[in-house]
Structure formats: C-alpha cells, structure tokens
C-alpha cells in the first residue's frame, strides 16, 4: 500500500533522513521504532506532505505522492496523528472532529464516520461541546485519533500515541489502535518509543537510527533480537 524508496530529507544543512526505504502492506500494522532524534517524526511528516523530500519516492497505491501538499495527500486516504496530538485546543471536541472531516462533502458519510469514532471513543461523545484544550491528556489523544479517523483514511499514521500517558491509558489506546486495524480494516503505520508495546501489536517493524534503517523484520523476530533487546526493550 505504501512503498518508500531511498527517502532523504533535510532541515537546511541538517540531514535528518539519509535515504530510507520501507514498505507498509495493506491491512497490516507496521511500526517504526528508534531513539530520540532518529528521524521517525521526520519520516511521517514527509509522507503526509508537511515536509518536502530532498530525494526519493513515496508510492501510495502505486502513485508517487512525494512533494504533494498535505491536503491532497489526505484526500487520497492517508491520515496522520501528529506527535504531541496537536488538537485544536481553542475549538470544541465536536469542531475538532468536524475539521477531521474537512474534505468530506457528503453529510451522511460524515455522520457515519462520527458514529464510528463515538463507538470507539464514547468519551468523546459525552464531551462534544467541551473546549478541547480542557480535555485530559488521554482524552486529547483519543480526540487526535478520532479526528484523524473522520477523514475515513485507508492508512493511519500515528506518531507516539503513548507519549505522556499513564501506563493504563497507553494500554487502552493501543487496544483501540488494534481494534481500528482489525474492525475497520485500516492499515497502520505506528511510530513509537515504547518499542515493547509497538512490537507486540505490530506485524512488521523497522528500527531507525540516525536517519537510516538499522534493522527490519517481523515484529516477533525483532523482539528476540539481542541488539533490539538491549537498545530498545530495556532488556539485559
């Protein structure tokens, strides 16, 4: 579904990605792990069009989308839940969700997407009129995911959904992610620092180190890999 080839991205003189290649098959959950500054966020931002690649290709359903503006990429069915959630704190929960469905012109489709989101996160329905900035951290993460689902994506990219959440909440959020994948058939590309959990829920994983793919493999295999164990799983 998503095929990245030799993607290089730089911020001015700083090169953040030195030609990475990865692939996300339809229907699966692929994870991208790596330590701080490895280039995970940069990868997602480039896929969703927030950053322009220096070189390389991003094929989505066979079409090279590298360099397209974000709103055209969303239209193709890619949705990106950014790092730090980035909900619109000045808007209500409902308005945030409406913005998620910005490109949907069909009212019944919006209604339908909303039903799905509320089914997954009933809390959001209760909080519809609340100003999003006053939600708790966990609720904000639910809103960020719910908002991204409003565009009815085929591929959902999540950047560190566990960031700053209590362990119990992290578990809930990850269960939801798996549920979204299984029940709605949405392909997922998951960026995480919590490698343990990420490798647990995913089918395939990539380990990113200073802008390069250092390792890749089935998630189950990666979890057994001594290098991954010592560097990312906190194992001995």
């Amino acid at each position: 579904m998503l095929e990245i080839k030799n993607l290089a991205v730089s911020y001015g003189a700083i090169t953040a990605l030195h030609g990475i290649s990865l692939s996300v098959p339809a229907g699966g959950i692929v994870t991208l792990i790596g330590s701080n500054g490895a280039g995970k966020t940069t990868t997602l931002k480039t896929i969703s069009g927030l950053l322009k690649p220096k070189s390389g290709e991003i094929f989505y359903d066979g079409k090279n989308i590298a360099g397209l503006p974000p709103h055209q990429i969303v239209k193709l069915g890619l949705s990106h839940v950014p790092e730090g959630r980035m909900i619109f704190a000045n808007l209500t929960v409902m308005e945030n969700l409406q913005m998620g469905a910005y490109l949907q012109t069909d009212r019944s489709a919006v209604r339908h997407a909303l039903d799905h989101v509320f089914a997954a996160f009933p809390r959001l329905q209760e909080r519809g009129k609340q100003i999003a900035g006053t939600l708790s951290g966990g609720e904000q993460q639910m809103l960020a995911i719910g908002r991204a689902l409003m565009s009815k994506p085929k591929l959902l990219m999540l950047d560190e959904p566990s960031l700053g959440l209590a362990p119990l909440l992290v578990k809930t959020i990850f269960e939801k992610i798996v549920e979204i994948n299984r029940q709605q058939g949405i392909t997922i590309l998951l960026v995480e620092q919590n490698a343990n959990l990420a490798l647990e829920v995913s089918d395939f994983g990539y380990v990113l180190e200073t802008g390069k793919v250092a390792l890749q493999g089935d998630s189950a295999t990666l979890r057994q890999n001594p290098q991954v164990k010592s560097a990312y799983l906190g194992g001995v």
Binding site: L50, K75, I87
Partner: protein, 313 residues
Amino acid sequence: MFNFEQVDVWQRVIEFLQQLINGLALGSILALIALGYTMVYGILRFINFAHGDIFMLGAFAGFYLAPKIAAVLPTPSIWAGLAVMGISMMICAAIGVVIERFAYRPLRRSPKLAVLITAIGVSLFLEYTGQLVFGAAPKKFPDLIPVYPLTQFGGLSINSNQVLVLGVTLLLLLALKFITLKTKIGTAMRALSFNPEAAALMGINTDFVISFTFALGSALAAAAGILYAISYPAIDPLMGILPGLKAFVAAVLGGIGNLPGAALGGLIIGVTETLVSGYISSTYRDAIAFGVLILILLIKPSGLLGKKEVEKV
C-alpha cells in the same frame, strides 16, 4: 439660580450624548478596519501595514463606482449606497487576495521582519500609485445616500448617516461572527490560527483559507472606507494612514488576534478620541490612539480581551 444650574446639567448631558454618538460612529469605522488587522495577525502572526490603504481603495472604488450605479439606480438612495458598498467590498477583497498572493505568500517561510517590511512597502506602493492614478488632491465623495436629520431633541442632533454607520457595522459584525463561528471555512480559520500544521493534516487547504481571510478583512476595510466617505466626504490617497494606524492600535487594545476585542478596541478609540477632542482639545485628537497604545503596552500588553500567548515550542 437652582433652575439655571439644572438647565446647565441638562445641556451637559445632551452634549455628552452627542459626543458619544459621534464617537461610536467613528469607532464603528475603526472597528471594521481593526478586524482585518486582527484576523490576518491571528492566522499569519504579522501586522499587515498595508491594510489601512485597502480602506482608502474602498473609498476610491466607491468614488468611481457611484456614477455608474447612478446610471442604473436612483441616486442618492439607500439602494445605490448599498450597491456601491457591496461592489467596492468585492473589489477590495480581490485586491487583498492579490496582495497576499504576490507580496506575502512568497515570504511565508521568511523571518517575520522581512514580511513586515514588505507590508510597509506595499503600503507605500498603494499610496503613491493612488496619488499617481487618482491624483493627490482631495476629491469630493458623491452624495450616495440621502441624509435626514432624525432628531433635534434638546439640541441633540442625530442624522440618518450616523444610524446607518452603526447599523451597517452591526450587521457586518454579526455576519463575521456567523462566518467564524458557524461555518466550515470559519472553523478552519480558527483551526489554522491555532496550529497551521495540524490544520493542513486535516486536509484544509491552508493557502485557500489564508486568501479567504485576506478577502474577508479587505472587504470589511472597504465597507469602512465607504462609511467613512459618506460621513467625511473628502477623500484622498493618503486618507488610510491615520485611520489605519488607529485601527491597528484598536486591534492591539482589544488583544491582537481577538475578533470581539478588535471591535471593542475600535469603539473605545473612537469614543475616547471624540470625547477628548470635544472636552479637552482637538489638537490632541490624533495623539489619543498612540497614548492608548503606550498605556496598553505598559499595563496589559495582551490587550483587553487577549489571552497571554504562551510561546509555542
């Protein structure tokens, strides 16, 4: 003696009311201009110093449109006035969009100072081109709208123009409120002003929303230009400078980026200015706004209705 004093007090009340009404009419016009400053700031975080000149262009658009409209509609009449205002608003909306597209958009990723200096350049360009095209000498704005005295009660004189200015301003404010709070594009404007990156990830075409914001702000400035010209019918290419600066102060006073704040700031500046020139000295009239600016920067830099902006990391 007692009786005499009562009359005196009555006179003073009337005089005060008169000043207040004059001030509100002037304040409405400043409020309409201030909204454009604050909307653009809310979205792009920069002060569009050419905005006052859009107000001037609005008045001149009206000046050249008036004879054309007079050929099809009875003039002076309220309909002729509204038609001229509507078309002038559309023309200025288009001018605002073009300015953003060609002067500001190429600098979207440049330092704010570069954009600010460009805005001053655009302002000078519009003023001098105005002098070249329209001529530097003041022109008499045509009688578009009939003016009736509404009351002469006890010396209080209110005419239909003042009511018109207040009424049209109120309608425009309500329309703007509706657009920003109830429509999809308005919600997108608020989303974009909070976080442009996240807005882009929603599928919002941020360039389009920015163009729309400039169109809206410029249309309001054009309406202000027409309202100003029917109240003070001598127009010239530099007429936008002072009202523009005062409206900028109004936007800062209300809390830059805050729409109700800009409207409130405009009214406060208009009323204060009128009261000061009526009671103290008209010499200081134009200095009032800047006094207010200094005060607000000292006392509450975030403005009356503004929230303290937390610097985003």
